[in-house]
Symmetry: C2
Subunit: 435 residues, 2 copies
C-alpha cells in the first residue's frame, strides 16, 4: 500500500483525535498479545477427554499389534485409515508420526541435503557446495518454513501468494533453474493470508516442467479442516493430481492434528507417492524405531471416525469465528480501509489475518503497539529472513486471547495503524515542503 | 573361541546323541523367537495405568504451563527434575524429548555432519568429502548405533568392549587421528554383553586427549536402572566427570523410559554440557516447536518421584531375572562351557546375553536354530556392517517370550550349538586326515 493511495488530507485532519486516543490507550496500561498462532484454553478443553485415552486395558489393535511395544514405523492402521478418509486419499500413502509435521519437513530437507532424495543425481549439499540451492517462498508465508531453508543456507526466492495460490507464472520461470530444488506452500487457509490454492493452480503446479529432477513442493496442509465458518474446504488429493500429471514424486504433503486436538501433542501425517515414502522410510527406520503408537490410538479413539474430526472442528469454528470477525469488523469500523490506511484479508479458516499497512509503516505500528502494551508479531516475519521489502505486512493472530481481549487489542492496533499513517503523511508533507 | 580349546574327543563322542536331540527338536515344529530386545506383555502391564494419564483436568503445571499447548522445547520441569534425580545430575543439564533417544542421537550426528557442532572447525561432511570420518565402535555392540554411523558413511573402527568398559588403551591411540570424530558406548549393562563401564574407565575416557576438538562420545545409558537383581548400579554423572577433566563438551549422554514404561511411547532424555545443549537447541528449535508435554506429564504422574522409577524396575527385574537365569543355567547344564563349545556373559541387567561359540560356527548355529523353528538374531549383528570377523558371536534376547518358551528355546539353541561344534570338529578332523 502506498501513501499516495491514502487520503492524506483526511488523515491529517484526524491527527489530534488519534493522538488523544493513543494517549488514552497507553494510559490503560494494557498487556495483550496477538502474536501467537496458538489455540486458546477454551479450544483445548474440547479435547480434554484425550488426556485419559486410550485408557487402561485398551492397547491391542484390530490386527493384534500391542501399541505399548516397539514397532510399526508407519504408524497404526486405525489412525492412518481415519486420516486418509479425512483427506480423501489412499491410506497406504499416508504415514502417521509423532506430533510435529514440522519435524518431518525438516528431516525431508535434511536428508535430501545429506543423502539426496529418490530423484536426486547427488545430494543437495553437493550442489550447495558448488553454487546455491534455491527455494521458492510464496509471500507472505510461514516464518517457521523460512527458518528451515535459511538454516540449510538456501537462497529463498519469493513469489506472490495470490488469492488462488502462489503465482504459477513466476514459479514456471524460476523452476527452469536446476538449482531451484523446492518450494513451500500452505495450500488451505494459508499462513498468514488465509488464501486457498485452487484446483486449477494445484494442477498447474503438478504439471510444471522443472529443470531439477528432484524438485519438491512441501505442501503443508496444516489447516485442511480448520474452518472459521460452517463450511469445510475441498481437500485436494495433491499426490493423486501429481501422479495424473506424470510427476508422481513432486509433492511432500503434510498435515497434523496439532490445532485440532492438542497443540504439540497431536499426530502428524506425511502423504506422498509410494516411492517417496520408501525413500523416507529408508532413513526414518535408521533414525528410530517408530512413532508413539499409544498417542495415535488415543487419537483414533477420541475421533471415532472422519466425521468426528469435522465435529471437533465445528466447535473450534464456533470459538474462533467471532474472534476473527471482530478483527476485521474493528478495522472496518475504525475506517482504516476507507482512509486508505490498511488492507486486510478475510480468512474463512486458519489462524491468521494478513494486514498491509502504508509502505514503510509496519515496523512503526508494531513499535507503537508495544509501547501501548500490545504485542504484535514482528513486522516482516512473514517474509524470508524477516525482510519485508516494503515494510508493510503485519500478521495478526487472534486465536489465543479471550474474545474481549481480542476486541480491546484490535481497537488499540487500529489506533496505532492510524497514528503511524499520520506520522508518515506528515513526514511526506515536510519532505515536499523542503523541495 | 577356538576349536582347539574345545574338547574335540568328548564332542565327537556326543555326535549320535546330539544328532538325535536335534531330530527330536525339529520334529516338535516349534515357532519361538529370541531375537528382539522388546519387553514382554507382562512387563508392559506394569505401566497400564499410564494409558489413562495424565487424566482429564490435569494439564496445568506448577509453573502455570498448559501442557496441551505449544511451547517448552526443553520439556517440562516436572519430568526433567524427576529424571535428574534418578540420574544424579543437575536438572538444567537435561532436556526431555519425545519417546526416542535414538532419534536424538541420529540428529546430533546429522547436525554435526551438516553444520558442525559447537567445537567443530567445519562440518563433518566437509571432512568426509576430503577423506574419511571415523567412528569408534566397541564390539560387540548395538546394531542400531552402527546403522546410524554406517548411514552417514563413516568408517567404523572397532575396539574390544571389556568387562570394565571399552578398551581405553586402544581408544587412546585411535583418537590421535583427527578424523576420528566420535564413539558409541552403552555404559551400563551394555548391549549385548551386559558389561558396565567402571568409574576408572569413564574418567579415562573423559580425560583422553583427542586430536579432533569436536570429538564426541555418545554415552547411551539405555539401561541405567534396568537391573536383573535387587541391586541398582551406580549411575555416573559423566557430564560432571568430563567437566572435572577439563573436557566439558565430550559426552552426549542419553537415556529414556522406553523399557521402563512403554516401549516407543516413553520419554527420552539428553544430558550434556550447557554449551552442547545450547548448540542442540539452535537446531532443535528450527526443527520443531517442542516435545509432547502431555506424555511427559503422564510419566511424571505415573512415577511420582525418582523412587517410583526404581519401584517399577524392581517389578521388571522380578519378571526378567528368571528368564535370564534360565538362559545361563541351560547353557551350563547342557555342558557347553565344560565342553569348550561356548562362553557367555552373566548380565546383572539390561536386555541381552552375549554368547561366543566356536570360531566359524555362529552363522551355522543360527541356521540350525532356524530350521528347528527358533529365530535367533543374525550372527554378526553386534558388529559394524554385521561383520563379525570370527563368526563367533551371538546375541540372545530372552525378554519377550514367556518363561516357558525361553526355556524350551534355549534348550534347543544349546543343541544347535553342540551340533555346530561337532560339525566343525568333524570338518577339522577330515582336514587333518587329508594332510
Amino acid at each position: 500500500m502506498k501513501l499516495t493511495e491514502a487520503n492524506t488530507d483526511r488523515l491529517l485532519a484526524l491527527k489530534d483525535e488519534v493522538t488523544a486516543s493513543y494517549g488514552e490507550l497507553k494510559a490503560r496500561d494494557l498487556s495483550l498479545n496477538l502474536t501467537r498462532g496458538k489455540p486458546s484454553a477454551e479450544q483445548l478443553d474440547v479435547a480434554e477427554s484425550l488426556l485419559a485415552l486410550p485408557g487402561e486395558g485398551d492397547h491391542i489393535l484390530a490386527d493384534g499389534t500391542d501399541v505399548r511395544n516397539y514397532g510399526g514405523g508407519d504408524g497404526i492402521s486405525e489412525i492412518r485409515e481415519l486420516w486418509a478418509e479425512v483427506l480423501g486419499i489412499p491410506a497406504e500413502l499416508v504415514v502417521a508420526g509423532d506430533a510435529s509435521s514440522l519435524n518431518i519437513m525438516f528431516d525431508l530437507i535434511s536428508w535430501s541435503h545429506t543423502f539426496g532424495n529418490n530423484d536426486s543425481e547427488r545430494p543437495w549439499a553437493a550442489e550447495a557446495a558448488e553454487g546455491t540451492v534455491k527455494w521458492i517462498c510464496p509471500v507472505p508465508g510461514y516464518d517457521r518454513h523460512f527458518a528451515i531453508t535459511e538454516t540449510f543456507g538456501y537462497e529463498m526466492v519469493t513469489v506472490p501468494m495470490n488469492e488462488d495460490g502462489p503465482d504459477v507464472d513466476a514459479i514456471r520461470e524460476l523452476v527452469k533453474d536446476p538449482q531451484v530444488k523446492g518450494m513451500w506452500v500452505v495450500p488451505v487457509f494459508s499462513n498468514p493470508t488465509g488464501y486457498t490454492v485452487t484446483r486449477e493452480v494445484a494442477e498447474a503446479l503438478a504439471a510444471l516442467e522443472t529443470a531439477a529432477p528432484d524438485f519438491r513442493v512441501i505442501w503443508d496442509n496444516a489447516y485442511a479442516v480448520h474452518t472459521l465458518t460452517d463450511e469445510f474446504p475441498e481437500i485436494l488429493d495433491i499426490v493423486g493430481i501429481a501422479a495424473a500429471a506424470g510427476n508422481p514424486n513432486r509433492f511432500w504433503a503434510m498435515s497434523s492434528t496439532s490445532k485440532i486436538t492438542l497443540a504439540g501433542a497431536g499426530v502428524a501425517f506425511f502423504n506422498s507417492s509410494a516411492e517417496n515414502l520408501d525413500w523416507y522410510r529408508k532413513y526414518a527406520t535408521i533414525r528410530g524405531i517408530g512413532p508413539n503408537k499409544v498417542n495415535q490410538l488415543a487419537h483414533a479413539r477420541y475421533f471415532g471416525n472422519a466425521e468426528g474430526v469435522r465435529a471437533v472442528m465445528r466447535k473450534h469454528s464456533g470459538i474462533l469465528g467471532p474472534k476473527f470477525r471482530a478483527v476485521t469488523e474493528i478495522l472496518e469500523r475504525r475506517g482504516l480501509g476507507d482512509l486508505g490506511v490498511a488492507e486486510w484479508t478475510h480468512p474463512e479458516g486458519g489462524y491468521f489475518i494478513s494486514v498491509d499497512v502504508i509502505d514503510g509503516t509496519a515496523k512503526r505500528v508494531v513499535e507503537l503497539a508495544k509501547e501501548a502494551g500490545i504485542a504484535l508479531t514482528g513486522a516482516g516475519s512473514a517474509y524470508p529472513l524477516k525482510d519485508d521489502p516494503n515494510n508493510r505486512n503485519l500478521r495478526l493472530a487472534p486465536s489465543l486471547p479471550p474474545q474481549e481481549e481480542v476486541e480491546v487489542a484490535m481497537d488499540g492496533v487500529a489506533t496505532c495503524m492510524l497514528l503511524a499513517a499520520i506520522e508518515a503523511a506528515e513526514a511526506a508533507d515536510a519532505a515536499e515542503a523542503v523541495k
